[in-house]
């Protein structure tokens, strides 16, 4: 390869990219799929999303109700605990803030539950304040089942196992319930910038 290939511009871009890459991560262009079970195929007319647990009144939306909620376009970098990162992924979905509007709760934790039995736990404050969404489109197209469609949780500031595929609801709790991977040695919080992959990190 000629010397000219490593132009100043190229180095500059690399540096900018590295700034966006948490420790121990590498960049991918594709979108790897990691599933520990069959891909659920819930018909949209049977799909619903619910807010339950420590709330005055549980809430529930059908697919049709959900589509009528105000949606947002979201562009974020995502980081998988298996060490791949993907920059500038584009999503569309409903902010959890919108779903929790008017919900009175003493809860400090949420447990996301999903078709197929997957769960993941998060502090309530990490899914509010414009930091988490229920996403139903990716790259301008309906979210494919293998990537969690019809809808997945999107919490891009934490490792991507927290962004539960095939999500069907959030259970609000006053105590913390470790989820599917969190109970098997994976970090309870999962901040990629602090490289919180495993217990004790």
């Amino acid at each position: 390869m000629s010397e000219g290939f490593v132009s100043r511009g190229f180095r500059g871009r690399r540096r900018q990219t590295d700034d966006r890459l948490p420790p121990g991560q590498y960049l991918v262009e594709g979108f790897p799929v990691l599933s520990a079970g069959p891909t659920p195929r819930t018909p949209l007319d049977e799909w619903d999303f619910s807010i339950s647990g420590e709330v005055d009144e549980p809430k529930r939306w059908t697919w049709e109700d959900f589509q009528a909620l105000p949606s947002e376009e979201i562009t974020r970098d995502i980081h998988c605990v298996t060490k791949w990162s993907k920059l500038g992924t584009a999503w569309e979905g409903v902010s959890i803030d919108t779903l929790l509007e008017g919900v009175e709760t003493a809860a400090e934790h949420v447990l996301a539950f999903c078709d197929g039995g997957y769960t993941t736990n998060l502090p309530l404050e990490d899914v509010t304040g414009g930091r988490a969404w229920i996403a139903y489109a990716h790259d301008g197209k309906p979210l494919e089942p293998e990537h969690g469609g019809p809808a997945r949780l999107l919490v891009p500031h934490l490792y991507f196992w927290k962004s539960a595929k095939w999500v069907r609801g959030l259970q609000l709790t006053t105590y913390d319930i470790p989820g599917f991977w969190e109970s098997l040695g994976y970090h309870n919080y999962g901040d990629p910038w602090r490289e919180q992959r495993y217990w004790g990190d």
Partner: protein
């Protein structure tokens, strides 16, 4: 003190006998649908994060295994019993 209440080390011998069986030949009962099948007849999903062994009939997670720097984690919550 109840004389039947013993230190766990007292069953070290028994547990040592139990945990030597050929696991794929053991029968596992699904705690969701009740299906009993040899572990070798179930469905395994192997990922970089961990492995999930599922009931071939209802896809319930029978056995979950993670192998990471914190050790091996074995979760048998989805199995109501193993017979071997």
């Amino acid at each position: 003190m109840d004389e039947r209440r013993l230190d766990g080390n007292a069953v070290g011998g028994l547990l040592g006998e139990v945990f030597t069986f050929e696991v794929t030949m053991a029968e596992a009962a699904c705690d969701r649908c009740g299906t009993v099948a040899h572990v070798g007849e179930t469905m395994a999903y192997v990922t970089e994060i961990g492995t999930v062994v599922r009931c071939a009939r209802c896809d319930n997670a029978l056995i979950r295994i993670a192998q990471n720097p914190r050790g091996y984690f074995l979760d048998l919550r989805g199995v109501s019993y193993l017979r071997f």
